[in-house]
């Protein structure tokens, strides 16, 4: 219950922000962030409480029971740890935002509401206890991310970035949906903590789909292209969504589903491939870029790759290591992003070629950066170090080919990580050739406070390493019971992993220093334009196809319908039984048939419209004759009357048109003839086929007897119309009324729009169109 209240508090907060933060009533526009921070604070408290409890708190709400859609939340060691990260950093981000934005910034209420919505979605995601709950919140984070990336929506490039981010993550969401459906259709159950390991074809497909989904969300190659673009968002968003929390959703998914999929053929290789590839490529990207924020973004891709590669191996040690890195990364990456945001708002640029020498002008930011950067590079005595140690240990701990691949990848990636961290710190804060940025705006308290706190957390985390290690262990145990024996170690001694760590640092720093001297031109966007091109291709392809299919011409549409209908009657051919058909019920019918067909041909062949009308008339009279012959006097009578009116109306209504029909092309006419003949044949075939072996008989006698007895009339047809099937007649009458209304309305509009009829009110087509009048009427 408590868990839903937490999420509900977010909704209430959003509502409050939307109402109070509207354009009119702004006291201090930044007050919205205070409102937004409260629910996050609440969630932080709930998470801390969850950490301190031994038993899990759960809550289930059946949504669509028939589809097994159960919304279930669970607060145990794992979800509380993740919840603490999400909600805790959330609170800090809201505080930071109050410093990042100025009062005049546009759309702050919208921003705060969306960010709070994201916060709630992410908390829901980490707390979820059924696969469908996970999916619901997973998609919600994609949507809120889209809105946040596009916050500065006036810019076309921002819109494209937001679109790219949404499409990639949402496509991943579809893969996840398919994967989860396969899981749900199996017998593993849907409760996340109780999933049973599976193997088999369906499980393999599901594993691949879930991994793909995780890769899109966690920006793994080749799906990583959305993340650098997402840096178009305001920095609080980058710090929160695109480094500390949302992009971890993929990592969390790999952690959660690892236990059930680790035995499938695809899980380990694919996961390690995604992870290591991204780790190396992301780090290279971070070394190539000159925008400070992009450097960090590519660094994030790299770090996420490390986590996914480690977790995908699935060993107890790896699970433990993966969670450790996740925790450490959230802390140092959020701090780094926030510092870049601070630099951005205080100096007006993020380009490392223009920056430099900020060590003196922004000392706090510098130290925050050094501490957090060192933690990222895995340098002791900071939280990042034992986490990376654990990863190296995990890599050393696996067997077979994975061990070699993983080790090479992790070590290589880590060297590059150290290098880009060094380059980042040196280029931004170190001395610069291009002169030092002097025009630095004053410090903003919320920013400084939050970044300092986060940097301190990296240190405190190392100091209180046992405490952190306990948290990580009790979380990891839930995923893999074997993790129980591991803990984070402050001083490992001269073991292989430690030696590797030192080698990594020793190799990375000079490389970073060397590369910091080289500031090339901005490299081409790596892959992002490819994704956009794909979208553009889809759009123009859609135009091409639509241009073909949606021709816009009525005759073409009709011909399509005619052909399809003709095709539909094909099965009837097989059913025709010639013996079941009589040729005719009397000699007069064939003669009348000839008259009808001749008249019909006349409507086509006689050129003038009047002649056509006469042809139509003769068809009508022929029809009346047939009706008499068939024993349907009512039909004959009505047919005659209707035919007269139609012919007269045709002549009056179209009297003043040019006398002849317009000529048509030969090919088109022939095509029409062929197609039309096809439908004629189809209808004949249908009638003949349907009549051949009827499965029931018409209740003729019943009708005749009932009509006289109950219906009180001798004309059975009339009794049917006014009594037995009076509802049809009612409908038919209303159709006529509607037709009359339509005709009158068209005539009125014609009269109003006739042009020279200036005496009529131009609004005449709309007798109540004048506003004053309708308003009065509404009021009365």
């Amino acid at each position: 219950m408590l868990l839903w209240v937490v999420l509900g508090a977010h909704l209430a907060g959003i509502g409050l922000i939307m109402f109070a933060g509207g354009t009119q009533r702004r006291l201090d526009a930044r007050a919205v962030f205070v409102v937004a921070a409260l629910p996050a604070l609440f969630a932080t408290g709930a998470s801390i409480r969850g950490l301190s409890q031994d038993t899990a708190t759960t809550s289930r709400v059946a949504w669509v029971e028939g589809l097994d859609l159960v919304l279930a939340l669970r607060l145990d060691a794992l979800s509380a740890l993740l919840g603490l990260i999400v909600a805790g950093i959330g609170v800090l981000v809201f505080v930071y935002s109050a410093g990042y934005f100025t009062e005049s910034s546009a759309g702050l209420a919208r921003f705060a509401a969306t960010l709070s919505g994201f916060s709630a979605s992410m908390i829901g995601l980490v707390w979820s206890d059924s696969i469908w709950t996970l999916f619901v919140f997973w998609e919600l984070t994609s949507i809120t991310s889209f809105l946040l990336v596009g916050h500065k929506h006036v810019d076309e490039a921002v819109q494209r970035s937001a679109r790219r981010a949404l499409l990639i993550t949402a496509s991943g969401g579809l893969a996840l949906l398919a994967g989860l459906l396969l899981i749900a259709d199996g017998d593993t159950g849907i409760a996340l903590r109780d999933l049973e390991p599976t193997t088999g074809t369906a499980a393999t497909v599901a594993a691949a789909l879930v991994l793909i989904a995780a890769a899109t969300k966690s920006a793994q190659i080749p799906f990583h292209v959305w993340l650098p673009g997402a840096m178009a968002a305001p920095t609080p968003v980058s710090a929160y969504l695109h480094s500390a929390t949302m992009v971890k959703a993929g990592v969390i998914a790999v952690a959660l589903f690892g236990p059930i999929f680790k035995d499938t053929d695809v899980w380990q290789p694919l996961g390690i491939a995604f992870g290591l590839g991204s780790m190396i490529w992301g780090a290279i990207g971070a070394l190539r870029h000159v925008d400070a924020k992009l450097i960090l973004a590519w660094g994030t891709i790299s770090q996420l790759g490390l986590m996914i590669a480690v977790l995908a191996t699935g060993s107890a040690k790896a699970t433990f290591a993966g969670i450790s890195i996740l925790v450490a990364h959230a802390i140092f990456k959020a701090a780094l992003f926030m510092v870049v945001g601070e630099i951005d708002v205080r100096t007006g640029t993020r380009d490392v070629r223009k920056l430099g020498g900020l060590r003196t002008s922004m000392p706090v930011a510098f130290w925050v950066c050094v501490v957090s950067g060192a933690s990222m590079a895995g340098i002791p005595p900071l939280l990042g170090f034992p986490a990376k140690e654990a990863a190296l240990e995990a890599a050393l701990g696996v067997d077979g080919w994975q061990r070699v691949v993983l080790l090479v990848g992790v070590v290589g990636g880590s060297v590059l990580t150290v290098a880009y961290t060094t380059r980042f710190v040196l280029t931004v804060f170190g001395p610069s050739d291009s002169g030092e940025v002097t025009d630095v705006a004053p410090r903003r308290l919320p920013i400084t406070a939050v970044t300092t706190l986060l940097a301190a957390a990296s240190i405190v985390g190392f100091v209180a390493l046992d405490w952190v290690g306990d948290g990580v262990r009790s979380a990891a145990v839930l995923l893999n019971p074997g993790s129980e024996v591991y803990s984070l170690i402050r001083w490992p001694g001269l073991k292989t992993a430690f030696v590797l760590s030192m080698v990594i640092i020793a190799a990375g720093i000079p490389l970073g220093w060397f590369l910091s001297r080289r500031t090339d031109d901005i490299p081409r966007p790596l892959g992002a334009d490819g994704a956009d091109r794909l979208v553009d291709e889809v759009l123009s392809g859609a135009r091409r196809i639509t241009g073909r299919v949606q021709h816009g011409s009525l005759p073409v549409y009709l011909m399509t319908a005619v052909v399809v209908a003709s095709a539909a009657s094909v099965p009837f051919i097989a059913a025709i039984d010639v013996d079941a058909l009589r040729w005719t019920d009397g000699a007069v019918v064939p003669a009348l048939g000839v008259l009808i067909v001749a008249g019909a041909i006349g409507t086509v062949r006689i050129p003038g419209r009047l002649g056509a009308a006469l042809g139509l008339g003769s068809v009508g009279f022929g029809m009346a004759g047939v009706f008499v012959a068939q024993g349907a006097p009512d039909l004959a009578l009505t047919q005659l009357l209707v035919e007269t009116v139609v012919v007269v109306a045709f002549v009056i209504g179209l009297g003043r048109l040019s006398a002849n029909f317009p000529p048509v092309g030969y090919v088109w006419r022939t095509l029409r003839m062929v197609v039309a003949t096809g439908l004629g044949a189809a209808v004949s075939i249908g009638l003949a086929g349907a009549a051949s072996k009827p499965s029931g008989s018409a209740p003729v006698s019943d009708f005749v007897d009932e009509a006289a007895a109950t219906g009180g009339g001798n004309n059975v047809v009339n009794v049917i119309l006014t009594d037995v099937r009076a509802l049809d007649t009612f409908g038919e009458v209303v159709v006529l009324v509607a037709v009359a209304v339509g005709i009158v309305a068209l005539a009125q509009s014609g009269r109003a729009g006739a042009g020279d009829d200036t005496d009529l009110d131009p609004e005449g087509a709309d007798p109540e169109g004048t506003p004053a009048r309708s308003v009065d009427e509404v009021a009365s």
Partner: protein, 505 residues
Amino acid sequence: MSVLVGLAVIVPLLAAMVSLGVRRHAFLRDTVVLGSLVGVTVMSAVLLIQVEANGSLVVRVGGWLPQLGIVLVADMFAVLVLSVAMVTITLVEAFSIGQRRSTAGADPTVAAPMLMVLTAGVALSVLTGDLFTLFVAFELMLVASYVLLTHKGQAGQVRSGMTYVVINLFASTLFLFGVAFVYSATGTVNLALLVERIPELQTEVRWGIGLWFLVVFGTKAAMFPLFSWLPDSYPTAPTTITAVFAGLLTKIGVYVMIRFHTLMSMDDLGTVILVIAGFTMIVGVLGALAQDDMKRILSFHIVSQIGYMLMGLGLFSVAGVAGAIIFVVHQIPVKTVLFLVGAMVETDRRSSALSKLGGLVSSRPWLAVAFALPALSLAGLPPFSGFVAKLALIDAGVEAGTVAIVVVGLVGSALTLLSMVKIWAGVFWGPQNAPAFHAPESEEWAPRSATARGWSTMSLATGAAVALTLAIALFAGPLWDMSERAATELLDGEVYVTDVLGSER
């Protein structure tokens, strides 16, 4: 309670006539129309509860035996769709009362009575247990829509009206041929009797009838390749009118198709329907992506979404048909509310072309919310109603092992999202373009208070419609149970036959 079944059909018909009589007296007319709509909505809600608790209600119109006369059948499927449809129409009518003072609106002296005719057609199509009455009901709906589409007589409306009228008239003719086929094969037009007799027919005749009616209903439902008339005609109508069309007309086509093809056990046409469904999904959504006008994008979406409903039908399993049913139930309000938002955008900015719009997220944030929620639902994202419907269908597809249609469905929903993003970016994001018309010049905007009041009525109706879509998501559980029950009843025609024919058999 069965008295309500008859009333649900007769009251709209009568209200149409009465409101036509008093059509120039705005207050009386609106009272009659809105009052009867609310009445029918309440009735259908009561029917829903009744049928849920006690099973189908059958009315023999005029007291005639089903073998001779017309029956109205309120089974689970019927009342479910009827309730949603009636709530939706009521909200649209409330909206249009607010929109009166915009030239984009319909002429109420024509639109209000015709809306009632349309309502009657919807109610009759849903409730009837008779194939020919179904034809009449279709004609009611269609003739009302012809008039609603063309009554202002503007050039674009007349042009597209012709396409619309001609195609639908042609489909109506095909319908009559179909009735002739059925009658000569079985000697009845009563659906319950047909359920007994059609399976006894020679296989080819059964196929022929099934395919023929697939074409007939498919034209009304705008399935591939018979959909092209829809995107040409719908966007030209006054937008409130389009909202009704979009929400209801094609869905009734699908409704009838589901009813006919399941009851008549046309399982062996499943593959054909699935292929059509796939094409409908993709071609429709590609069409939407190609457009540059909000209303046209949404119109093409109608087509695409029809494909999903067909997919559920084509699976011919309880899960599939139930998925199709809940899809219909969710689509009716979602599609309507999207067009209502379109109408509000149009009222606000005097255009629906993406190139002329932009920046509404800042100037009309609540409108943005009102668009976003149903749009996400349309794209099938959780936790909205469209997600439940999509999940049900995809799940049914996975269960049936029809991988191809599942993949097509997923790709389709990604493309749907892309096109929603297109609208969102074009209408709500970007720089705020100047209104195409200047307010002072057009008289109808002069009385500021009137505008404000009209606007708030429109907002209220739209808000209620959004709330309805959210309610469908919230109560998806019970709705799914009902859909599943409806699907079970449909696939097992025996229930229907017993309900209608009773002990007289």
